[in-house]
């Protein structure tokens, strides 16, 4: 694939950081605001597609993305199985215990004598295994969508198989 003009390439290099931070923000805050693993991963997958179109490519490192995808999936299912040991499958064994790794309680405010005092304390480090699973799924979706997009994009020129 041929690369595009210098204007496109420069803007892509500038936008890379912003889009990456935005996608990671959506993945990590998935248990509080709309978003989560798949949505943030799809944004970063689009970033990879932008890179492919702007810079063109003839060969790429398929192996590293395959490893990332498999490790993301493995973290997901192993978290579920650890929950099995602690209670039942996918049991949220961290949530509500107060540990600093995503275990704190969600606190949205308190009612003192009929007046509501809002506060958003410790919202990111709460909800137990849910952010861990969000990040695992996000990792997997980034790698998976990159594999799909780049394989389809290089398909007409390299002649490899198009099956996932």
């Amino acid at each position: 694939m041929k690369e595009m003009s210098p204007v496109v390439r420069t803007v892509t290099k500038i936008a890379f950081g912003f889009i990456l931070i935005f996608g990671l923000y959506i993945i990590i805050h998935g248990h509080l605001t709309p978003g989560g693993g798949f949505q943030g991963g799809a944004i970063i997958g689009t970033l990879m597609a932008l890179y492919l179109v702007a810079f063109g490519a003839t060969k790429w490192r398929k192996k590293i993305y395959s490893i990332i995808e498999s490790s993301g999936l493995l973290i997901f299912i192993v978290t579920g199985l650890i929950g099995l040991v602690a209670g039942s499958f996918f049991f949220n064994f961290i949530g509500g215990t107060g540990s600093p790794v995503f275990g704190q309680e969600l606190n949205t405010g308190e009612m003192i004598e009929g007046v509501w005092f809002p506060s958003n304390t410790a919202p990111l480090l709460s909800a137990g295994t849910i952010p861990i699973m969000n990040m695992a799924v996000g990792l997997e979706v980034i790698a998976g969508l990159t594999l799909i997009v780049v394989t389809m994009g290089l398909f007409a020129f390299a002649g490899k198989e198009g099956d996932e």
């Binding site: 509080l32 989560g36 798949f38 405010g109 509501w116 809002p118 919202p123 389809m152 398909f155 002649g159």
Partner: protein, 120 residues
Amino acid sequence: MMSEIPYIAVVALIGIGLYIVMFKRNLIKLAMGITLIETGANLFLITLAYRSGDRLSAPVMTSQIMGGGAPAYSLPTPHALTLTSIVIGVATTALLLAFFMQLYKKFKVSSVDEMRRLRG
């Protein structure tokens, strides 16, 4: 009446999608038709989450919504169902387009009329 309009849109989307799959010959149009049916089904699922009232919003846990009385948000279960369905749709569409690309590469097929090697 105003709350019935999404359901009319659902019927229209699924109807147009089925018409495309049943009567159009180009392969890419078939993929678009399937995407339309999928969009219609997702719209149907997310419309079921509607609850009428004031100060309602999406099921997000911030202090604006959880504060001062009973938390007021729309039903969260259909949101989860719709997300799952969108993810499944992405996987299916990617696989289908990969098959069409391979068929074009091997047989120069771009219409359903030529994709008839398995019949009888």
